[in-house]
């Protein structure tokens, strides 16, 4: 195996600093949309009464003639976007993930995916880290809802910088896309040089040497937790590779293949139900090619609740500690 391909990519040099920069992932969508919209006049924005919190406000201010406010009508939102796409626009629609795709899943299915039009869906405030608003607003099912739709790409950026790049990338595809965003500020894992490509997982941590004990595949805010866990484990002599699997669909099966071959055991980590998300997608693939033991870090079939984001991540076991525990369990199963 070529040593070059098995190196970690460049990430934030302050990754292990206690004062690491923290920015909400949704901010990257906001800046990315403005940049994409400046470059391509076909891009239009649509929102259901949540422009400030989904960060579409800057786009709306800069391009008022290209922005449609539909009010609190998420089903309408999806189908209006579909109609605009039919006339050659590239529509970006935003709301909270609990409502879009939560409430308008069928409209996304029929008017966007079945029609195969380039509508880009931003599901903001996804995951438990929404915080005090509580369980009704904490979407834990949206990755599952979107990945079961043919023609839909599903992207879960790990930080604001990646969200910016992902927004620019999906603006260029002719296919429906879903981008998952978080409300609360989270550590900036990557930097401007970190590569991003739809459908490509990136190695963000790798122990020294060619022998690996375990692979951790994470998305979203848990990528940071996975890297911290990996460093801890590495210091204990456990060899770890961490993949940032920002694209859930299409799955980077090539990167998975190599990881499975090297490690023979995986931990998956996501701010989402274990049922139907990143872990499920990976298990579907490994079971049908090269079955390996998998430990799933995610929400274990419950709803969220009110609390501070970090309290909730700890309570529901979505943190560095749980990932480490999962690795110990995994190694005992291997």
């Amino acid at each position: 195996m070529n040593k070059q391909t098995r190196q970690a990519v460049e990430i934030n040099e302050n990754i292990f600093s206690e004062t690491i920069e923290q920015v909400p992932i949704r901010n990257g969508f906001g800046t990315g949309l403005v940049e994409a919209g400046t470059k391509d006049s076909r891009i239009v924005g649509l929102c259901a009464d949540l422009t400030e919190s989904t960060r579409m406000e800057e786009f709306a201010k800069k391009f008022p003639e290209r922005f449609i406010e539909v009010g609190i009508t998420e089903q309408n939102l999806a189908s209006v976007a579909s109609g605009m796409a039919a006339m050659g626009k590239i529509p970006f629609m935003s709301s909270y993930a609990a409502f879009s795709p939560g409430r308008n899943w069928e409209q996304i299915r029929t008017t966007i995916c079945y029609n195969d039009v380039p509508v880009k869906i931003a599901g903001s405030h996804a995951g438990i880290s929404v915080g005090p608003d509580g369980g009704t607003h904490q979407a834990l099912e949206d990755i599952a809802l979107m990945r079961v739709l043919p023609n839909m790409d599903v992207i879960v950026p790990c930080d604001a910088i990646e969200a910016h790049k992902a927004t620019l990338a999906i603006a260029q595809t002719k296919t429906p896309s879903y981008i998952r965003l978080a409300r609360e500020k989270s550590p900036v894992v990557t930097n401007q040089n970190t590569p991003f490509e739809i459908g490509k997982a990136q190695i963000v941590f790798r122990s020294e040497g060619d022998i690996m004990d375990v692979g951790i595949v994470a998305c979203g805010v848990l990528v940071y937790q996975a890297i911290r866990a990996a460093k801890e484990l590495d210091e204990q002599g456990i060899k770890v590779t961490v993949l940032n699997m920002a694209t859930i669909k299409p799955l980077d099966t090539q990167a998975l293949n190599i990881l499975i071959q090297e490690t023979g055991a995986l931990v998956t980590a996501e701010e989402h139900q274990v049922a139907g998300g990143l872990g499920s997608a990976i298990a579907e693939y490994t079971s049908s090619t090269r079955p390996v033991p998998i430990e799933f870090v995610g929400i274990k079939d419950s709803y969220g609740q009110s609390g501070k984001p970090n309290e909730l991540l700890d309570l529901y076991g979505l943190n560095q500690n749980t990932i480490e525990q999962a690795v110990y369990t995994l190694l005992s199963r291997k």
């Binding site: 003639e65 189908s79 109609g83 006339m87 069928e106």
Partner: protein, 289 residues
């Protein structure tokens, strides 16, 4: 206000009769599908595709064309039959309705038939799409556009909440070139609409959402023509035409019965229907007798 001549009306009546025959034939062949809605809406489809709509069967991608969205996609037999008679494809293809590999899917799918403006079937999303199209067009062409965006809807369909989200948006955006047409045939699957889920007063509802509303006899070509002309010259509001139709119109045996909403005629029923249509209800002789 409209200017359609008697001669043109007669032509449309003949086209409509031909289209009704095609609908019966294709439903008998398919063995499944919807009868009452397609027959009831035949006159409006005929008016649009043979007179009112700006379109070109030889250039289905023509950028300047009017757009027509069929929101209640289950009545697609009338859409397909009208498109065939208008020259978009061979009439022989109509007998492939609902069969494996057919371009004429049970509910319209644009991937199979690119000159459809959209796919449809699940009710309530067409008006949102028509409004989205009109909004996109307004960004490019402003108020001086010559395009019209038609959305055909069922009356039972209006029970879906999403319609009212779209109607709110249409009223807000004052889209003068959006024309909705409601097939007010008073039936749906479980019976008469006013028993299942009463929609009246329907005119008042649309007016309350700031639309320009007209009510017409959906089988009278002069009335259709006048209403469309009025809609086109109404600015500051989108327009809706509530077209009162007889479900199953044209075949006496089928008219006004909810049972014909969702089933096709069998061979014998189809034969009787065709005899009635071909002889203009016994007024002329048909070559088929």
């Amino acid at each position: 206000m409209g200017n359609i001549s008697d001669a043109q009306v007669k032509k449309l009546q003949l086209h409509a009769n031909e289209i009704r025959q095609s609908i019966i034939e294709m439903l008998v062949e398919a063995g499944s599908g919807h009868t009452a809605g397609p027959l009831g809406m035949t006159d409006i489809f005929t008016y649009l595709y043979f007179y009112g709509l700006k379109h070109d069967a030889q250039k289905p991608d023509w950028k300047e064309r009017d757009r027509l969205i069929l929101s209640n996609g289950h009545i697609c037999p009338v859409l397909y039959a009208t498109l065939a008679h208008a020259g978009y494809f061979e009439k022989a293809e109509l007998r492939t309705l609902r069969k494996l590999g057919s371009r004429l899917q049970g509910h319209p799918h644009r991937e199979f038939m690119p000159f459809l403006e959209t796919s449809s079937g699940p009710l309530g999303s067409g008006l949102s799409q028509a409004i989205g199209m009109a909004l996109a067009n307004r960004i490019d062409e402003g108020q001086t556009t010559s395009k019209y965006f038609y959305c055909l809807l069922g009356d039972g369909e209006l029970q879906e909440g999403q319609n009212w989200e779209a109607i709110l948006l249409g009223g807000k955006e004052k889209l003068h070139n959006v024309i909705a047409i409601v097939d007010r045939n008073n039936i749906q699957i479980d019976g008469y609409t006013e028993d299942v889920m009463p929609m009246n007063p329907l005119v008042d509802k649309w007016e309350a959402f700031n639309w320009h509303v007209q009510e017409i006899d959906g089988h009278n070509f002069e009335a259709i023509d006048t209403a469309i002309a009025k809609a086109k010259t109404t600015f500051g509001k989108p327009s809706v035409i509530i077209a009162h139709t007889i479900p199953g119109k044209g075949v006496t045996e089928f008219e006004r019965l909810p049972i014909w909403h969702g089933k096709p005629p069998n061979k014998e029923e189809g034969a009787r229907a065709l005899a009635e249509l071909r002889t203009l209800q016994g007024q002329i002789q048909s070559e088929h007798e």
